[in-house]
């Protein structure tokens, strides 16, 4: 493989690690806030990333917890997605890329990306519904503004995963051709 490709993979690995750490910090902060919101409701006014959902909390606990659950699950899924990406990059052997492990990781990336996209889309529609009922939801839009991008990415990655599986079949057959 060329030097440029190796360098690109190294840069990609570093960037993926940085994003993964950032997403873990986000997810961790949201989880801690979620746990503490049960015992200390006053924390709802000043949640992670300066989120103030006190009005929603006071109006409807169900709406607060369901919205917060969406935020939490999406942030955890995003962190796990980047964990899979890091695992793939770290174990990828560019001289022999077609193996079952890589194929499985790419397929998992497509499934998780689709899950994030669909959940974000459902959350966005739910917040629109809440907005019609008079809730203040402007602060929540930042968490699912990229839902369509994730769904598009999932479709592209799924196509790549399918092509990769075919490549793996061809390589296996080639390996067993004498």
């Amino acid at each position: 493989m060329s030097r440029t490709n190796n360098f690109a993979f190294k840069v990609l690995s570093i960037v993926a690690w940085i994003i993964f750490v950032g997403l873990c910090i986000d997810a961790g902060g949201l989880i801690v806030n979620f746990i503490f919101s049960f015992s200390k409701p006053e924390m709802v006014k000043n949640l992670y990333q300066k989120l103030d959902l006190s009005e929603m909390y006071n109006r409807s606990r169900w709406a607060f917890y369901s919205m917060y659950s969406f935020i939490l699950v999406i942030s955890v899924l995003k962190a796990y997605l980047f964990y899979i990406v890091i695992r793939l990059i770290s174990k990828l052997d560019l001289s022999k890329p077609f193996n079952s492990f890589v194929s499985e990781q790419i397929t998992q990336i497509s499934y998780f990306t689709l899950s994030i996209g669909l959940l974000s889309y459902i959350a966005r529609e739910t917040t629109k519904n809440l907005q019609h009922r008079g809730y203040e939801i402007d602060q929540l839009n930042q968490f699912w503004v990229d839902s369509q991008a994730f769904i598009l990415m999932a479709a592209v990655v799924y196509v790549i995963a399918t092509i990769f599986k075919k490549g793996l079949e061809i390589q296996n057959e080639n390996d067993l051709t004498v």
Binding site: E173, L176, T177, V178
Partner: protein, 71 residues
């Protein structure tokens, strides 16, 4: 698999070891072993030619078709 490779039978008839055959046909021991144990999915004509030349035999001496039972 319906195609059976009788390489070991021919090698025994010609009193040739796997190492010798490997050197003559210029195929690695692992690839020959894949062929011998029936794990190969395909064989190139060039390989078949080299094996037939080394063992002084016909392709039919090495390859045999046995219909799979439907049970």
């Amino acid at each position: 698999m319906p195609i059976i490779v009788n390489l070991d039978v021919m090698m025994a008839k010609r009193k040739m070891s796997l190492n010798e055959l490997s050197e003559k046909v210029e195929l690695t021991l692992s690839n020959l072993s894949i062929l011998k144990t029936g794990k190969a999915k395909a064989i190139r004509f060039s390989t078949l030619e080299a094996i037939c030349k080394a063992l002084n035999c016909q392709p039919a001496d090495i390859l045999e078709y046995i219909e799979e039972s439907t049970n």
